[in-house]
Amino acid sequence: MKEQHGYTSTKRYGMVIDLDKCTGCGACMVACYAENNVPFKKNETHKLDSLNWIRIFQLDNGKPYPDTEVCYLPMPCQHCDGIGKHGHSPCVSVCPAVATDYDYSTGVVSQIPTRCFGCRYCMAACPYHARKFNWWDPVWPADTEKYLNPDVSPRMRGVVEKCTFCFQRYQKARDKAYMEGRDEIHESEYQTACAEACPTSAIVFGDLNNPDHEVSKLKDSPRAFRLLERLHTNPKVYYLSSKSWVRRAGDNYLENESKPQSGRQKIHHK
């Protein structure tokens, strides 16, 4: 937030998830665990203290068989831009120790585990429950420590962690481009682990500000919507669905409010 005066809108990385394509297979979650050294418990039945940077929700239209329709919705951190263009996302503005920050060059909401002292104010602020606390010491089963990703530091007990849009991959791609004398990173050079792993290509990742990137076109689809737009969190994760009940499930409405026909009709923060 301190860098707001030097803000230039260059890149704004985001994600578009096509819910019509998502089968709920969980490959994105597995890939995320492996890429980001996310630890797990022996017993994962209590989901509210599980560490997962992307979760999959199962939604249904509430109708009995044979009219039942089901939709799977993967939910990573929404990397909110917040109100205005100064990174006033719900979590960044509240962190008392600047352990979470808004990166103005990419739009990524970062998390600095070594700065975090575990007050969990960011978790209270995030309406998506995208932030996870290390309630336990990370324990890796025998020999699996050897398979940890050397580009990502494992976190310790007592700090908050969350999806970083695999920022280490951005750093690698940026370094490679620099070494090759390029200013720009190609779309394929920086992809998140979940987007790469998705077998149906439901997850598309790229620069929302770059007209050559697929996400910049997809976000303007009539099927597009974002979660909780009415809160003005201004997320950079978009969802696509051809079903109006799914789009309606993305936000809260009063009983007498008309159903949204498409995400395009809603508020869009650029």
């Binding site: 503005s93 352990a99 602020a125 309406p127 429950h129 969190t233 009063l254």
Partner: protein
């Protein structure tokens, strides 16, 4: 050779044996809390029933509640030293001690609550000036320093300590400039009480607690300060009453209590008007703009019904305010006691809903209400400050001249 007694002259205290047994009981409870604290520090916050939906829980409520209740110190100090209500000098020592206990308890609970206690200083070193919690940390720590300064002269007035010329003169000189510290305390309290209200009021991702306001300060900023000024003195009156019952002595004259009760009553009455106006605006404008109807916050869950709002605003708000602002009400001892108990419960309920209900309400439409009950470790560490408070008050009452009117009210000859 004549030795100076350690107990203030002209007052009666219980026997050493009775005092030791009382202290042993309080210490046993304290040690239970210390053991739970040890578990939380060494095994981690997995000892609690908090989870990713309840990052804030019983401890943050306890922090907010004790700081509101400790508000009696700053507001009584304000009335005594700034407004010039001299009569309140007869209760200011006790208000300061209660405030000292409340604030030190809050700091201790915060130290247990953070996941990396050894990094607690990051909040000062890497301070984010945009965060309400940063403001809370700075003002709360500074005000705790002020309370310590306000408490010290009373400690130096212990007969043994007062025999030391340096401490005797220091206490005297500190008394003479106490108005400066009282004013500093009022200034700091306005900000940290307000910032605690801001902690939940700024959460624009949480429709239950989010409030609009003036500039960067949500309405809860002002409401928290107001309610602490209203209910803090009620807690001072309540603790004074409990102390009188336990020691079987009158310690403060009725006119002092009456004055404090009357001012509290008017603060509470005006606070209730502001709070009800805030609730109506939030229910009619703020929440609907976020897609929530008023009753969405009070239905479809096993705990949080509309009863909790009625309890906070009517039973523990309007009722005690009406009792305290009417002469007949506050002069009736039973009604006065009822009013201060209700006001104390009311401010605690307010802090509870602003922390716990805020997190219980599902915001993502396909999630459900989140329920929580604390673990024994959370309960024990929350009771710990109560035992600590009992010990500090017992020691202060036995060895310090806390109540200037005690000798007059309880002549020993």
């Amino acid at each position: 050779m004549e030795t100076t007694p350690i107990i203030p002259q002209g007052v009666k205290r219980c026997s050493k044996m009775q005092f030791s047994l009382w202290m042993a009981a309080a210490t046993a409870v304290l040690l239970w809390g210390v053991y739970a604290m040890y578990l939380c520090w060494f095994k981690g916050l997995n000892q609690t029933n908090m989870n990713d939906a309840y990052g804030f829980a019983l401890w943050i409520w306890a922090d907010l509640a004790v700081i509101a209740l400790g508000g009696g110190a700053f507001f009584t100090g304000f009335l005594t030293y700034i407004i010039g209500k001299d009569k309140l000098k007869n209760i200011i020592n006790y208000a300061v001690i209660i405030g000292f206990i409340c604030y030190s308890s809050a700091l201790l609970i915060l130290a247990i609550d953070i996941g990396q206690p050894l990094r607690g200083w990051f909040i000062f070193w890497h301070a984010n000036e945009h965060s309400m919690l940063t403001e809370v940390a700075f003002c709360l720590s500074c005000y705790f320093g002020v309370l310590t300064i306000e408490f010290l002269p009373n400690i130096f007035e212990n007969p043994k300590l007062n025999k030391i010329p340096f401490l005797h003169h220091l206490a005297h000189n500190m008394h003479s400039i106490m108005a400066v510290f009282a004013a500093t305390g009022v200034f700091l309290s306005f900000f940290h009480q307000g910032s605690l209200g801001g902690v939940s009021g700024v959460l624009f991702g949480r429709p239950f607690s989010y409030r609009e306001g003036i500039n960067v300060w949500p309405w809860t900023f002002f409401l928290f300060t107001w309610s602490a000024a209203a209910c803090g003195p009620c807690f001072t009156i309540l603790v004074t009453w409990i102390t009188e019952k336990l020691t079987r002595k009158k310690l403060v004259k009725d006119d002092v209590i009456q004055l404090l009760a009357k001012i509290s009553g008017w603060m509470l009455a005006t606070y209730m008007i502001a709070k009800i106006a805030d609730t109506i605006y939030w229910a009619m404008v703020t929440a609907p703009s976020m897609g929530f109807s008023f009753m969405d916050f009070y239905t479809s869950n096993p705990v949080y019904g509309i009863w909790i709002l009625i309890l906070e605003l009517v039973i523990c708000g309007i009722v005690p305010a009406l009792i305290l602002i009417t002469r007949k009400g506050r002069e009736n001892k039973s009604l006065l006691l009822l009013a201060v108990v209700l006001a104390v419960v009311g401010v605690c309920v307010n802090r509870w809903v602003m922390v716990l209900q805020t997190l219980a309400v599902p915001v993502v439409p396909f999630e459900s209400w989140f329920m929580y009950s604390p673990s024994w470790q959370e309960v024990a560490t929350t009771i710990l400050p109560v035992a600590y408070g009992v010990i500090v008050i017992s020691l202060a009452h036995r060895y310090l001249p806390v109540f200037p009117q005690e000798r007059e009210l309880n002549p020993t000859n």
